[in-house]
């Protein structure tokens, strides 16, 4: 019975040693009764064992007086028995202390006690928490886990018997005696174990009838019942069943309003059985009962009071009792329906428990209802023992200020509620056990089996969970329910797991560890905070964990910690923020809670290069490093970049950039390169002199230590972004940055580094001075070598760089010589838009060289370019059109080639409808080139190029104007196109182009006007538009081409005037 007493009996909380008392609960009552029955029949059934003398007496404070015993002699006020063992009387009663040494005597005492025997037994058990030890000796003490004392004992007896058999008979009488005694002990022990098991079974049955309702159970029952409800009086159990009142479901699963949840209400249900009116049911944690239904005075409100004292275990039981029809139908479908909710229930009890266990005080409602449950619990004198404790509010040893208040509240509630639960529990007992004892017995037994099954099934289902999961669960339990010391131990131990492993990360989340860890950050215990952050830092590498941390409000707390005086703490918080702020919502949260400002302030540390750093100073530097790490993550959002700038991050970053340590430099440069997408940062980076440092970090600083590729990568990409500006490009060259950039091209393995380096080369090559240096460094060959077998990120930049470099004639030749053209043409078939833009540019640049053009033509490059005009992306369209221009210019038989593209001319004309100015300009330029060929000009005229060009003339964009005028000039050379342009009203706008400041516009406009002026109508229009004055000025322009066309145009106008005059006088 040891096990039963230890595990099943419910002791009052003053445990440890002899202080504990058996509580007055029905469960204990049953246990005592069972033990009593066992003892009372003992000596009759087993007379021999009854006489077995205990190892030590069972002693307790009795309520019996000496004169109620007879048959013992009295010695100095002490009542003792005749029989003795080792000089200790088997029975002794001294004042109120009684001690006995056999079962027989125990039975006798109980008999003497009469109706007080239960009290007596209780006193005895309370004084002897493990009576087996007293009776049979220490070796049979109750232990948790495997108890093989019996086996060992049997073994021992067997051995002795063997020995006895071998030895001679006469000598061993004493041994034989001993053996006999041992056999006796064994038999008593076996009987006690039998009792023990019986007791345990009984208590399990008892406990399982008292399972409380949880929102989940109610819900599953509701779902099942809803499914079985309907109009059909034969098949459906109910007419309808639904939730009453608001449909809002609180986080804890309850539907009742929070103030009702305080009373344990889960939800209200309206059920309409086939016989009778609607039932209004309250589902309470203690069970279901009928309430008084809707309030007639306040519509939509319920009268919450119960109508009668009956509380039912679940909905089905209640409905069965209230509606005979329901009971009848349900009994027909007993198996289908009745089993199911029950089965669900058990699994769900476990699940719900787990969930509640996870719950933190975050949700106020939940907290309230839990507290309430906790209060209820105490009143019910912990009847549910183990099951319930998880529903209690977290007994965290350190909660913030609110704690005291809430405790008071809780106490108040407790007092208010006291009368109710008592009544409830008595009604419970009334209803359950006595009404139909047989039924309840059978039911509970099946239930208990089911429970075991459910547990097993769970174990099976979880069999594939790694062992770490359970260990972590245990540790998190200590985190939840331990004081500071236990918390620290659990934290240290958690860190022994491989926190980089996803299973461990998710296990911590799944067992509710994240909530606890984040809650720990809100305490004032520096050590715990450090321990918790160390774990959070590791596990926040997991994306799911990041989101959970953000959801649980961890970022806000960590931002708060950034102001903590403890530097270690600051570091860890910043590092964790760096991990968490990898997605947009988190970054926003950091900003909104003032995190950016605090992070920037972390950057402010001592001068980095001082020779003698104290530990304190080094810690400061570490803080700055972590701050930079966090800012790096945060700087991926535009608004954060702005916030950082406002907080004065740039000068601080500039200072940190001078650091000699890679650890520091990587986050700093990383932040800078993220921010360099903003023009304001680019300006600041240049003016704060950071280019020099960036270039410096690109180089190998010392010969013995190779430069860190990650650092180089960030530096290169910072330069990549900053080199949009000419001044920056010049600075890069001046600081000797081009050489290391080209040097990095040899690094074929690290693709990121390669992408960054080629990007930087691309942008730097925009300046002709840089191109010259790149030539010297033989950059072209290296880049061409990178055109194959590279990822697209690299290719985009390589091709971009080639496109820029190919602006120099020498380089174009070089590209051809190193065999780059076939690769480039090949890339025209790709799909990456950015790549296509660059490739078309590069091919276009290469096509400037007639020798290159031969190759491109041979590879059918022009056709590929042409087909790119169909691309959806206007950038691609434009750059393809631009590339087509030099191709047509430099190809042999260009006209023939263009005609060979079926539908090509129609396509390009149709692009004049585009919205994009760049596309229009490029297409105009291409049309100007196409129109050089008369046949093609005829075709495009047929496709209606004239009105389309004329419509575009109203533009103010100089680039478009230039190419448009050029196209118009060329298109005039066919049929009556000149007249057509005049009719379409293209002439007058063209005249206005002459007011533009761009000389290129002037040149092409003059050319167009010259062509148009060959038509007299156009001359008149031009003259009216005031063309003569500006043209006269342009005749004096330095540009010969412009001079010529202007003069030609004026000549045409003048000739017309002369002809008119001549006609007049003729």
């Amino acid at each position: 019975m040891g096990q039963a007493l230890v595990s099943a009996a419910q002791w009052t909380s003053a445990q440890g040693g002899s202080g504990g008392k058996l509580e007055l609960t029905p469960l204990n009552e049953e246990l005592l009764n069972a033990i009593l029955r066992f003892v009372e029949g003992f000596s009759q059934k087993y007379p021999d064992e009854g006489k077995l003398v205990f190892k030590r007496p069972l002693t307790w404070e009795t309520t019996l007086s000496a004169n109620s015993f007879s048959g013992f002699k009295e010695e100095n006020g002490v009542l003792v028995s005749e029989e003795k063992k080792d000089d200790i009387p088997l029975f002794k009663l001294q004042t109120q202390t009684i001690s006995i040494m056999t079962m027989e005597l125990a039975e006798m005492v109980l008999r003497t006690a009469g109706d007080k025997k239960i009290t007596e037994l209780r006193l005895c058990l309370e004084a002897n928490r493990d009576p087996v030890v007293n009776m049979l000796g220490e070796r049979f003490g109750t232990v948790q886990g495997d108890d093989n004392s019996i086996l060992r004992y049997v073994e021992e007896i067997r051995k002795e018997m063997e020995q006895l058999g071998k030895a001679e008979q006469g000598e061993n009488e004493k041994q034989q005696q001993e053996l006999k005694e041992k056999n006796m002990v064994l038999s008593v022990r076996l009987k006690l174990i039998g009792l023990d098991q019986q007791l345990l079974n009984q208590s399990i049955m008892k406990i399982s009838t008292q399972v409380r309702l949880t929102p989940k159970m109610v819900e599953s029952e509701m779902t099942t019942l809803k499914g079985l409800s309907g109009e059909d009086g034969e098949k459906c159990v109910l007419e309808h069943i639904r939730y009453h009142g608001e449909s809002f479901v609180y986080k804890n699963g309850c539907r009742a309003q929070p103030w009702r949840q305080l009373h344990g209400d889960i939800c209200y249900i309206e059920a309409k059985p086939h016989d009778g009116s609607s039932l209004y049911i309250t589902a309470n944690t203690s069970g279901c009962f009928i309430n008084k239904g809707p309030d007639p005075e306040r519509p939509g409100q319920l009268l919450y009071d119960r109508t009668d004292q009956d509380t039912y275990r679940d909905l089905v039981t209640l409905l069965k009792a209230k509606s005979p029809k329901f009971a009848q139908i349900i009994s027909k479908q007993e198996f289908a329906l009745h089993e199911k909710p029950k089965d669900d229930r058990h699994v769900e009890v476990a699940a719900a428990d787990e969930e509640d266990g996870q719950g933190t005080a975050r949700s106020e409602q939940q907290g309230h209802s839990q507290k309430d449950k906790g209060a209820d619990d105490k009143d019910k004198q912990n009847k549910q023992g183990e099951k319930k404790k998880k529903l209690e509010p977290s007994l965290k040893w350190q909660v913030l200020g609110v704690d005291d208040e809430s405790k008071e509240e809780e106490e108040e509630k407790q007092q208010k509620q006291k009368p109710r639960p008592k009544r409830r529990s008595s009604s419970l007992r009334k209803q359950k056990t006595p009404v139909e004892p047989a039924d309840s017995f059978s039911e509970s037994s099946t239930e208990s089996e089911e429970e075991e099954e459910a547990v097993e099934r769970r174990a099976e289902a979880n069999a594939d969970l790694p062992s770490e999961y359970w260990q972590i669960q245990k540790l998190v339990k200590y985190l939840k329910g331990g004081n500071q010391t236990a918390t620290i131990i659990a934290l240290c131990s958690l860190r022994d797991f491989n926190l980089a492993q996803e299973t461990c990360q998710l296990a911590i989340r799944d067992v509710g560890g994240l909530e606890v860890l984040i809650n720990l950050l809100d305490t004032n215990e520096v050590k715990c905070k450090i321990g918790a952050l160390k774990i959070l830092k590791e596990i926040s590498r997991n994306t799911q964990i990041r989101r959970s941390i953000a959801d649980l409000g961890g970022l806000q707390t960590m931002v708060k910690i950034l102001r903590d005086p403890d530097k270690d703490l600051k570091c860890l918080a910043a590092e964790t923020i760096a991990n968490v702020a990898k997605f947009r919502r988190a970054r926003r949260t950091v900003r909104q809670h003032g995190g950016i400002k605090r992070l920037v302030s972390l950057l402010d540390c001592v001068p980095l290069n001082s020779t003698n750093m104290t530990a304190e100073m080094e810690l400061d530097v570490e803080v700055a490093r972590c701050g930079a790490l966090a800012l790096w993550s945060c700087s991926k959002s535009k608004k954060n970049k702005e916030a950082m700038q406002r907080a004065g991050a740039i000068p601080l970053l500039a200072k940190l950039l001078k650091s000699p340590h890679e650890d520091m430099l990587i986050p700093v440069v990383g932040t800078l390169q993220e921010c360099a997408s903003e023009p304001s940062y680019r300006l600041a980076i240049r003016t704060e002199g950071m280019i020099e440092d960036l270039v410096g970090n690109l180089k190998c600083t010392s010969p013995d230590k190779p430069a860190n590729p990650e650092l180089q990568m960030h530096c290169a990409s910072a330069i990549f972004k900053c080199a949009e500006e000419k001044e920056t490009r010049d600075l890069v060259r001046q600081y000797g940055g081009l050489d290391p950039l080209v040097g990095l091209l040899n690094n074929m393995e690290n693709k990121e580094l390669l992408a960054a380096a080629t990007g930087a080369i691309w942008k730097c090559a925009i300046s002709p001075e840089n191109v010259a240096r790149f030539q010297e460094l033989k950059c072209i060959e290296l880049l061409v070598a990178l055109l194959t077998n590279q990822p697209e990120e690299v290719l985009v930049n390589v091709v971009g760089a080639l496109g820029e470099l190919a602006k120099a004639q020498q380089n174009r030749t070089q590209i051809r010589k190193s065999g780059g053209i076939p690769h480039l043409v090949n890339l025209l078939t790709g799909t990456n838009q950015a790549l296509l833009v660059n490739v078309t540019k590069a091919v276009g640049q290469c096509a400037e060289e007639p020798d290159n053009m031969v190759i491109i033509d041979k590879l059918d490059g022009v056709r590929l370019l042409w087909s790119l005009l169909k691309n959806q992306n206007p950038d691609v369209q434009a750059s393809a059109a631009w590339a087509i221009c030099p191709c047509i210019e430099n190809a042999k038989d260009a006209g023939e080639m263009v005609r060979s593209f079926v539908g090509g001319l129609e396509l390009i004309v149709s692009l004049l409808k585009s919205e994009d100015k760049e596309v229009l300009a490029a297409v105009s330029a291409a049309i100007a080139n196409i129109a050089k060929d008369e046949e093609n000009l005829a075709v495009i005229t047929d496709h209606g190029v004239v009105p389309m060009l004329a419509r575009l003339t109203l533009t103010h964009d100089d680039k478009l104007r230039q190419h448009l005028a050029e196209a118009i000039a060329r298109c005039c050379n066919w049929g009556n196109n000149r007249t057509a342009f005049g009719k379409e009203g293209a002439v007058a706008p063209l005249v206005r182009y002459l007011k533009s400041k761009d000389e290129n516009v002037h040149r092409s406009t003059a050319r167009a006007l010259f062509q148009l002026s060959k038509n007299p109508e156009n001359c008149i229009t031009m003259h009216e538009a005031g063309v003569v004055q500006p043209l006269l000025k342009m005749v004096g322009a330095p540009d010969a081409d412009l001079q010529e066309s202007s003069a030609g145009c004026i000549g045409n106008i003048r000739r017309l005037a002369l002809a008119n005059e001549r006609a007049k006088y003729a």
Binding site: V6, S7, W11, S13, Q15, G20, Q144, D377, N382, G385, E386, K388, K389, L395, W397, G401, K474, L475, K477, Y478, G481, G482, N483, Q484, T485, A486, I488, I489, A490, L491, C492, S493, R495, D496, N524, V526, K527, I530, G531, P565, D566
Partner: protein
């Protein structure tokens, strides 16, 4: 000053003492001197000795250390001769370790505190003493006992990291702490929290001279260290 002179007759000898103490604890000489003044002030009414109760009160109010069991054991480490009150030297030596920033010194101190019987090993039984109250009691009674045992298993695995002999020697402890300094207070918090320590130093350095008017110890001690919220 008078008490001071009575105690150490020779000022030169006193100076030497301060030097040794400051060397031992790696605290500044100035701080040791200040501690000395402080001790004198607060123990005037006890005749220059600090009784156990006062020690506990000091620790609780200045450093927010509340655990009685721990304080008893901390006191044991101060009162080496077990006389029930601390002399100035004992106090200075003890506080030297207690307030030190030196990892080795505080590691040793917390080890000594934890080693209840002083045999050089922290055994399971001793851990039991330390940890038995660490888990909030759960309604199910033997749970917490079981829990504490498991907790001990965990911590012994962490601390007994060198020879794995199921008990923790100073060497083990030192190695474990070097690995993870959170373990320094893994059985109980027996060291001053940084903030309180700072406040204490400030108090004994700056304001002390004011408050210690020669009129006597009755002058209100206004060392109000910020207590943790």
């Amino acid at each position: 000053m008078s008490v001071f002179k009575k105690k150490f007759v020779n000022p030169h000898k006193l100076e030497k003492k301060i030097v040794t103490l400051s060397k031992e604890s790696k605290l500044k000489r100035e701080t040791v001197k200040q501690l000395m003044y402080y001790f004198q002030t607060i123990t005037k009414k006890y005749g220059g000795k600090m009784p156990r109760t006062q020690f506990r009160q000091e620790m609780t109010s200045r450093f927010n250390l509340m655990d009685d069991f721990m304080l008893d054991n901390l006191y044991r480490c101060f009162d080496l001769k077990n006389r029930g009150s601390l002399t100035m030297e004992e106090y200075l030596r003890g506080m030297g370790g207690f307030l030190s920033d030196d990892m080795e010194i505080i590691t040793k101190l917390s080890f000594t505190v934890y080693d209840l019987n002083g045999d050089g090993y922290i055994t399971r039984e001793e851990m039991m003493q330390w940890l038995k109250t660490s888990l909030t009691r759960q309604s199910h009674e033997d749970d917490s006992d079981e829990g504490v045992k498991e907790l001990i298993d965990i911590i012994i695995k962490k601390l007994d990291c060198l020879d794995h002999d199921n008990r923790v020697s100073l060497k083990d402890f030192r190695a474990a702490v070097a690995e993870d300094d959170l373990l320094l207070e893994s059985l109980s918090s027996c060291l001053p929290p940084t903030e309180n320590k700072k406040a204490f130093f400030l108090m004994i350095s700056g304001d002390l001279k004011y408050t210690l008017s020669p009129s006597g110890p009755s002058a209100p001690v206004r060392f109000d260290a910020p207590v943790r919220k």
